[in-house]
Symmetry: C2
Subunit: 458 residues, 2 copies
């Protein structure tokens, strides 16, 4: 990809692959209008920006399709360049032939994310905003949508720039002292400086810490369902899925091919991972299966441990639960014990279990709401996410961890009264990293990495 001042014109199918009533093909670049003009029945050379034109698209002398062409003139387009959108009939054949035609007339097929890249290069969005566009397109739930939208609209960039500004002020003070180092002046009160770096560190920490939550919101909260085969794992999963699916599929056809074991509860996506039943065994193959189960459990944010009240004894259940908690569950994981196949009569017989988990009947859909409530408690912090910022992008997270490290060095340096020029170097490093998030600091490799993960047509 050519990152600096691209002079060519790119094109791509921008709507979902496949057959639809309408498909949209996008052209962007300095020749976009001229290229469209070569194949369209009406003259677009002097039409106004943001106008739509119905006409025929010609392939040689033959009408390839009747289309609506919309013209966006630079800088009033998504990319900031002259852009043309062709709304055609959505057959694969037409999509393909129109793209071929545009290539013949001098356009080039866009790489992944190349429209967004141009938007960034032309200053229409910062880097974190273009990344949010990609997240927005992939978001499957209200929560994921919300964090992506907030980031796209610049909330995240605003916070990062705010941090950078504070650090810049700090750096200037420290560097000013350097210029007068012979004279042993202190322009900034040391305590005040220490307070400032504390504040900045706190903010960076908070952002980095939000990543686990942000990642769960964006990609779905990983939930492992653990239990013996007869404990009712799949009945439970189906009971949960069926209820919610009825709501999701109200809008015909749009969500039919969603992955089976993904469930959205109150706007939060949960990804259920199937695990083999866990019990003590000497069978080699079973051991391998169980090892895989433990791997899955380690990846989960929430572990549902299912017990079968009809076939297991109270004391054994309690022992197993306590063992599992002690040996398997990590500090930042939520364990929910689920006592399945409960009914009004048998619940009284399990008084020792009360308070240690939820009594449900997957088959009779009894107490599933309580289970959902507990699942949601794993992301209860989301309420705070509505106002505050959340990091969802692994690239941003990694940069923030580097910032944490360099800020730590600044803090320690101040405590050890290291020379101002060394202090300034660590601060400059932090500034550099923060700039990588918004794209103030950038290079081709970084851009190549980011945009190659985008979908084509965006």
């Amino acid at each position: 990809m050519n990152f600096q001042n691209p002079s060519d014109t790119i094109c791509a199918l921008s709507t979902a692959a496949g057959v639809g009533a309408i498909a949209l093909i996008r052209l962007s670049g300095k020749d976009a209008i001229a290229i469209a003009n070569q194949v369209f029945s009406k003259d677009l050379a002097n039409v106004k920006s943001h106008t739509a034109h119905f006409g025929k698209l010609f392939q040689g002398n033959e009408v390839l399709d009747e289309v609506v062409v919309t013209v966006y003139r630079n800088p009033r387009s998504f990319t900031g360049e002259d852009s043309v959108e062709i709304a055609c009939h959505g057959s694969r054949y037409i999509q393909q032939e129109i793209l071929k035609l545009l290539l013949q007339k001098g356009a080039r097929l866009a790489g992944p994310g190349e429209f967004s890249l141009r938007a960034f290069m032309n200053g229409k969005m910062d880097l974190s905003q273009t990344e949010a566009v990609a997240d927005l397109i992939m978001s499957n739930s209200r929560a994921a949508h919300k964090v992506a939208m907030h980031q796209m609209r610049g909330g995240f960039a605003h916070e990062i720039n705010d941090l950078r500004q504070q650090l810049l002020n700090f750096a200037s003070l420290v560097e000013l002292e350097l210029d007068f180092s012979q004279e042993d002046v202190e322009f900034a009160d040391r305590t005040q400086l220490e307070n400032l770096i504390q504040q900045i560190k706190l903010k960076v920490n908070r952002l980095a810490d939000s990543f686990r939550m942000g990642n769960a919101l964006k990609n779905g909260v990983p939930v492992a369902i653990v239990g013996a085969p007869n404990a009712g794992k799949s009945t439970l999963l189906n009971a949960l899925l069926n209820e919610e699916k009825a709501i999701v599929s109200e809008i015909a056809g749009t969500t039919r091919d969603v992955i089976e074991d993904t469930l959205v509860i109150e706007g939060i996506e949960f990804r259920f991972m199937d695990t083999a039943g866990i019990r003590e065994t000497t069978d080699r193959i079973e051991i391998m299966g169980i090892e895989r189960s433990f791997e899955q459990i380690r990846k989960a944010s929430v572990v549902l441990l299912l017990f079968d009240l009809k076939n297991e004894k109270e004391d054994i259940i309690l022992t197993q639960l306590q063992n599992f908690k002690a040996t398997t569950i990590l500090d930042d994981q939520l364990l929910i014990a689920v006592f399945n196949k409960s009914d009004d009569t048998n619940q009284n017989q399990f008084s020792k279990l009360t308070g240690n988990g939820i009594f449900i009947s997957a088959k009779n859909r009894h107490n599933l709401d309580e289970l959902k409530k507990q699942l949601l408690s794993a992301v209860q912090d989301f309420s705070f996410a509505q106002d505050q910022l959340i990091v969802t992008n692994v690239r941003h997270y990694e940069i923030l961890k580097k910032c944490e490290a360099s800020l730590q060095r600044v803090e320690e340096g101040m405590q050890n009264q290291i020379p101002g020029d060394l202090l300034a170097m660590d601060i400059r490093e932090t500034l550099y990293h923060l700039g990588e998030i918004t794209g103030t600091i950038t290079n081709d490799e970084l851009l190549g990495n980011i945009f190659s993960k985008f979908c084509i047509g965006k």
Copy 2:
């Protein structure tokens, strides 16, 4: 569906289902602009037709998405009604939430083909043209695209209306005679009338006859590959598919999920049907398999009969070929004998086979072009299809067959000098049928049948 003067506003996703950079949601009806105005950040009430507006879409107080809204004012829209197109970010979540939002504000989810139905009701297209729009969207090859495009642009309707006009003139003459029946006048020269009805019959016959070809062009030419398992059926299929696929997949991603055994040669689609090997057997299960093979062969337009030159004797091949031709191939089917595993040395040894089929090597891709040429000869009439009309729609075909029958009665009636009023009845019946093609004559049941087969969003 409400067919007469619909007063409500419909909405649907018009681009392909799934995730894309952009999705398009369409609104049409008298409240389309007012409904969009309730959720959009800019005032659309007085904007000009065919203008695009970038802004925010609100769900309550929250920004659901940043979108481009294009306004089309009646009658200058696809449906002929006020229409709004919302180009949003193409996540499933956003698509779904925007549709929900529009429903809340008073729109209704469109049924299949309901936008096209409205275009028809508002006189933007006749019935055969709206049917062509559906065909156009489903067309997978140049040939299918071409016939659909021709029909959409009114070519077919023109021909049918021409026929109707000629018949109407004929009917008026006959009916005029009825009014003066006491006086025994003949306004129309009988021979002239007979000639006219002959001409019309000829045209109707030609159209009805074109359906087999039209159906093949639209849905793909059905080709059965027959031969013993070792004859190299799948090697041949792969050799044919691989060559062509390289061309098809030049445009990234658009055709990847096409059915494996469909092949487009010079713009014509061929559908290859796998058949079990055919040989004499007493095994029950194998007999069932062979019966199914014969069924498939009966459905095919072209039968490729494969022989293995390396393992079969010339005389046996010749006998088998002649038997197969005599017992299995129908009059309107094309049989191509394919002598596989041929090479420069063995071809001379099979002098008796020369002229009875093609020598190829599927493995070495030898002579595949000749095979393709022969496949194309099955649809050689397509060159004539470029100028003349072809019937591709089974509904039209069935109507034309009814017309043939009633025209036959008219012709016989004239020969038997039946009373003019009976003659007029048969002519009126033909007129009625032809009117059903273009929608001059219509009713709710007919429309319901046609449009229920459309996709949603069109």
